[in-house]
């Protein structure tokens, strides 16, 4: 009985260390900035409020047009609220949308970070639930990262909030008043595990597909006629063997990466290799398939696995007044 209690105690201790040990928020600061930039690109550049949420949106709110988003949601058993169901006038949409974009800017620069993060998440969810027919992978990843950032002290580092705090308290160095916090570790762990789930599920689901077994899946992915950035048909005609070899290597590498990510990323020895593989995979998706936004968001999630010391070291190299210090890693405090 005693050894069992002992092992239980050890497990609880490890659980406690894994989730609740106070940690540095530097990584979360970087994630906040990158996420904000992704959101800005996503909503300010690639989104038309008129098409998706305006009075003349594709999925209408007016039953006389034949579609009513509320009726569709009801028939589909969905019960998700959206701000855009109540804000329907053109002016209302414009003002609310501008407010939403302003919140994204605030999140990016880290001004009233937590309020901005909550606002952005609500806006993002409202958009998704207003027109669920146009939601795709990037929206799911964005919503999960935003949710976890709300818990985090995301504005504690590299932010206007931090700058104001320093000046209000008249701190002379950037180190004064800086805290290790448990919720930095907690939210970072949530992001890390969520990223593992995404990759693992994606990899396992691929195993059901014949093309992932015969090595042609990557060809079918990069040569999607509606998505390609380069016309690869000519290459296929001239050098089919080369294309087949590339496709086979790419297919096997993608499967190996996605399935093993959840297990190997926790090993410090191979973590850099796995993160470099993630960069290669998503750079490939971004360049060859034209899905740069999705790739950027996924890589933002992967930043959660970068140690705060590494970020501070990098920051020190970039900004001379940036203090690297000897911060203990969350799992080593």
């Amino acid at each position: 009985m005693f050894p069992m209690l002992k092992s239980m105690n050890r497990a609880l201790q490890r659980w406690n260390e894994f989730w609740f040990i106070p940690g540095d928020a530097a990584t979360l600061g970087v994630i906040r900035i990158l996420l904000g930039l992704c959101l800005l690109w996503h909503y300010a550049c690639g989104f038309s409020a008129a098409d998706f949420i305006g009075p003349d949106a594709w999925v209408g709110l007016d039953p006389s047009h034949g579609t009513d988003v509320l009726e569709i949601a009801k028939a589909d058993g969905r019960n998700a609220p959206s701000l855009w169901i109540w804000v329907t006038s053109e002016t209302g949409v414009q003002w609310t949308y501008s407010f939403f974009l302003a919140a994204i800017v605030f999140l990016t620069i880290g001004f009233v970070s937590r309020v901005a993060c909550v606002t952005v998440l609500l806006g993002h969810l409202s958009f998704a639930h207003r027109c669920p027919q146009v939601v795709y992978g990037i929206d799911y990843v964005l919503s999960s990262l935003l949710l976890y950032l709300i818990i985090a002290p995301a504005g504690a580092e590299f932010s206007v909030d931090r700058w104001i705090s320093r000046h209000v308290r008249k701190q002379k160095t950037v180190w004064e008043g800086r805290q290790l916090s448990w919720n930095a570790t907690f939210s970072m762990r949530l992001i890390q595990i969520h990223m593992c789930i995404i990759y693992f599920c994606s990899g396992m689901a691929k195993l059901q597909g014949a093309s992932w077994w015969d090595g042609t899946a990557i060809w079918y992915a990069i040569a999607l006629p509606e998505m390609w950035t380069f016309d690869l048909n000519a290459l296929l005609v001239r050098h089919p063997f080369v294309v087949e070899i590339i496709s086979l290597i790419g297919t096997v590498a993608t499967l190996a990466f996605e399935i093993s990510f959840a297990f190997l990323i926790w090993k410090p020895a191979v973590r850099p290799l796995i993160l470099c593989s993630a960069v290669v995979l998503h750079a490939g998706i971004g360049v060859l398939m034209g899905l740069s936004g999705f790739s950027a968001v996924m890589l933002t999630g992967c930043v959660a696995f970068v140690r705060p010391e590494s970020i501070r070291f990098l920051g020190q190299r970039i900004f001379t007044n940036f203090h690297a210090g000897e911060l203990p890693a969350p799992d080593r405090v």
Binding site: Y140, W175, L180, I197, C201, A205, G209, N233, F241
Partner: protein, 286 residues
């Protein structure tokens, strides 16, 4: 507790909060686990326990947009469908467009959303209910999309307000891709294009596919050549031609190639017979 580096560590988690948060974390990831395992696949259903769990978990996951199965490019990557619409007006005129439109002039995110919109129309309800399905196909929804597409795509705002819509034809189009294993080394580029063609399908009002055939894609020059060769007059006037060229460019090669390559009996058809058959297959303004 203060670290030697000057970091204060007073922001530690209260003891009473730890079990609460631990339970919440477990519940959160259990819900996600149900979500990713409980959704039916192409051929397999999820475990019954996970299906039941997913039905409960969706009330928590759905509002937060966490109800994703993360099956990106699985089980097999392949082309997305696109959507052809032809609006017939009461005055006898009609107009058509491909949706989503070609990638070149569109932002990535917007283009993918448009593709998803089309995808959402053709979702087939699962046999055990529609709990996790998107909007099922419906003629009303298609009509609404069609009208809104014409309203919102700037270059297509050529339909006068006084025109009253009579009816709409819909075509669900799947582009084919060159297959690695079907292409022989001695084939030429045209052969690649042959594989890189379209699948043309026609859907009735209830969203059921009533016909479908694989056809090829030709370049615009070849399209024009084919039109001249077979004396096809698809354009009502020069103005409409310029506006609708992308749609025609997508549509006509499909139709012409369908006749020339995929259905041998039509290779002998010329002139009026060809035009009649085209009218039958693709109801575009002739």
């Amino acid at each position: 507790m203060t670290q030697s580096s000057g970091l204060s560590c007073r922001n530690s988690c209260p003891v009473w909060l730890k079990p609460v948060l631990s339970l919440m974390v477990l519940g959160h990831f259990l819900a996600i686990f149900f979500s990713v395992t409980g959704l039916p696949n192409m051929e397999f259903k999820g475990p019954r326990l996970c299906e039941s769990g997913a039905k409960v978990a969706r009330y928590y996951l759905e509002p937060l947009l966490l109800d994703c199965s993360y099956r990106f490019y699985a089980p097999n990557p392949g082309p997305n469908p696109c959507f052809w619409l032809r609006l017939h007006f009461e005055n006898g005129q009609s107009i058509c467009v491909e949706f989503p439109r070609f990638r070149q002039s569109t932002h990535e995110s917007r283009f993918v959303r448009e593709m998803n919109l089309v995808d959402s129309i053709v979702v087939v309800p699962s046999s055990d209910g529609r709990a996790f399905e998107l909007t099922p196909p419906s003629a009303e929804l298609l009509c609404s999309y069609a009208v809104r597409v014409f309203k919102t795509v700037p270059s297509l705002k050529i339909v006068p307000e006084e025109f009253k819509l009579s009816y709409i034809d819909f075509y669900q189009v799947y582009r084919n891709q060159p297959g690695l294993h079907t292409l022989q080394p001695d084939d030429n580029l045209l052969r690649a294009r042959y594989h890189g063609g379209y699948v043309l399908g026609r859907y009735d009002d209830s969203g059921t596919r009533v016909s479908g055939v694989s056809v090829s894609k030709l370049e615009i020059n070849e399209l024009i050549e084919a039109i001249l060769k077979y004396d096809i007059q698809p354009y009502l006037n020069q103005e409409e031609m310029s506006v609708n060229l992308p749609a025609y460019a997508a549509a006509w090669p499909t139709a012409v190639d369908l006749l020339l390559r995929e259905t041998p009996e039509f290779r002998t058809l010329h002139g009026e017979a060809l035009s009649d058959r085209l009218r039958e297959l693709v109801t575009f303004p002739l």
